[in-house]
């Protein structure tokens, strides 16, 4: 049984769990490790729920905890037994569900390439691409969440997207030394 306060907390946390799992999986590419990270994040969120600023957005706060844990590498994997059977492999979500549907299959190949290219990005760029492009955080929120100025977020986004594009385009000369954010005329 949950008390009223706990029910309110659950109502604020639970809607974000699927997105937290998606973000964690995109960072770790391993379902079990990702769920370990999410579990760790949720445990901390629950135990420090009262420390949260009340005006703070629960989603941004949860993502900030998860991102911090990821960065600290504190993935307390296998701390307790896994309740889930290990029925998922890293690429499972990418398998073709209906091989007769050519168009769907082609989409899935594109998705697959995109994910492979994403993995080749430097971690900072990958994080920003995910937070902004997939999780719909504003540039300011992504800056706050990762603890860097918004200008840094913009330049990581800019470099990350350019790099991703060139990787997908098969450009073998992808360089790390693209000039920093500038105005194009």
């Amino acid at each position: 049984m949950m008390a009223g306060g706990e029910r309110a907390m659950a109502a604020l946390i639970e809607p974000h769990i699927p997105a937290l799992r998606r973000f964690a999986w995109a960072l770790l590419r391993d379902r079990t490790a990702a769920d370990d990270l999410v579990q760790d994040c949720l445990e901390r969120a629950i135990s420090s729920w009262h420390f949260r600023r009340h005006e703070a957005d629960a989603k941004a706060w949860l993502f900030a905890i998860l991102h911090n844990l990821f960065r600290m590498g504190r993935r307390s994997a296998s701390r307790r037994g896994h309740a889930l059977p290990l029925d998922e492999q890293g690429d499972e979500g990418l398998q073709v569900a209906d091989p007769t549907a050519d168009q769907a299959a082609e989409h899935r190949l594109i998705w697959r390439d995109t994910l492979i290219a994403l993995e080749a990005l430097p971690e900072d760029q990958r994080v920003v691409l995910l937070l902004v492009g997939v999780e719909d955080f504003s540039y300011d929120a992504a800056a706050q969440l990762t603890g860097v100025p918004v200008g840094t977020v913009m330049s990581r986004l800019s470099r990350g997207r350019e790099r991703l594009r060139r990787l997908i385009a098969g450009d073998s000369t992808v360089d790390l030394a693209r000039p920093p954010l500038r105005r194009v005329k």
């Binding site: 949950m2 706990e6 907390m9 659950a10 946390i13 639970e14 769990i17 699927p18 799992r21 998606r22 999986w25 995109a26 769920d35 999410v38 949720l42 445990e43 901390r44 969120a45 629950i46 135990s47 420090s48 009262h50 420390f51 949260r52 600023r53 703070a56 706060w61 900030a64 905890i65 911090n68 896994h82 309740a83 889930l84 979500g93 990418l94 989409h107 594109i110 998705w111 697959r112 995109t114 994910l115 691409l129 995910l130 902004v132 492009g133 997939v134 706050q144 913009m154 800019s158 997207r161 350019e162 991703l164 594009r165 997908i168 385009a169 954010l181 500038r182 105005r183 194009v184 005329k185």
Partner: protein, 272 residues
């Protein structure tokens, strides 16, 4: 390119905003017009927008699957209650043992917190801690003198100035990480140290300590506050040293948990 009435040329941030579909109508039109004149750049950014969609689609795939039981809040809460029950039993057992032995040590400490009474700070050490919290916790630019990245240096420096081996308490379990610290002058001219922590939402918490040989206080927790500013602290004096853990707008119980953790770590490091 410039357009009448809009002096800002199209910038990289506009282009990223376009990829994310976050531009206002006017700005969006400006970028589209600019694309018409710069087809090569336009092709690059259209590819990025397509890749953004592909990424969302690829990652959105597994979203329909149910959340595993171990990630349900209710289950996590139940596990936590179980663990806490064990903890309480253990502390109770230790406390009972110590009482039988004729003394109550710090382990029973959390049980002795006076409930309810809000004591306003009159002790200089506590007043300093509260005002130091007010001044520095609000400083967004330079909250600390020495950052946590130089923790060894910071700790060595503060230890030598305070004349006491010091360790920065680890509050990660409670969601706080060390930002750094600074040296301050206590009222009686004694050097004092302030350690600053940031919580998960970047909220600040400080630990203030200095020699405090004035009598009238011991290792039991006392509560102090500046009601007008919402700054509260738990403080205690242990073997000639005063400690205060302060925060703003934090629930009393949550602050107490941090204070207990600091107290325990200080007690342990002294025992070594």
């Amino acid at each position: 390119m410039t357009v009448n009435g809009d002096p800002l040329p199209v910038g990289e941030d506009d282009l990223q905003g376009w990829v994310d579909g976050r531009l206002g109508q006017q700005r969006n039109a400006l970028v589209e017009a600019w694309f018409a004149e710069n087809p090569e750049t336009a092709a690059r950014f259209r590819a990025m927008a397509a890749q953004r969609h592909a990424l969302r689609a690829a990652l959105g795939e597994g979203q329909a699957e149910p959340v595993p039981a171990r990630l349900r809040v209710a289950n996590l809460l139940a596990a936590r209650r179980q663990a806490r029950l064990h903890g309480v039993r253990r502390i109770a057992a230790v406390a009972a043992w110590l009482v039988i032995g004729g003394g109550l040590g710090w382990a029973g400490h959390g049980l002795l917190v006076p409930q309810g009474a809000a004591v306003t700070a009159t002790r200089p050490m506590v007043a300093e801690a509260l005002s130091a919290h007010r001044v520095f916790a609000a400083d967004a630019v330079r909250p600390v003198e020495v950052a946590a990245a130089q923790e060894a240096q910071l700790v060595g420096w503060l230890s030598s100035r305070l004349g006491r081996p010091l360790e920065a308490p680890d509050l990660a379990q409670l969601g706080y990480h060390l930002l750094g610290g600074r040296l301050l002058a206590g009222a009686a001219g004694d050097p004092a140290a302030q350690l600053m922590y940031a919580g998960p939402g970047a909220e600040r918490l400080t630990v203030y300590l200095r020699a405090d040989r004035a009598g009238g206080a011991g290792p039991e927790f006392r509560f102090a506050e500046v009601p007008a500013q919402g700054i509260t602290a738990f403080w205690w004096v242990d073997r000639g040293f005063g400690f205060a853990v302060a925060a703003e707008g934090l629930e009393r119980l949550a602050l107490q948990r941090v204070a207990e953790s600091v107290h325990r770590q200080v007690a342990l490091s002294q025992a070594l």
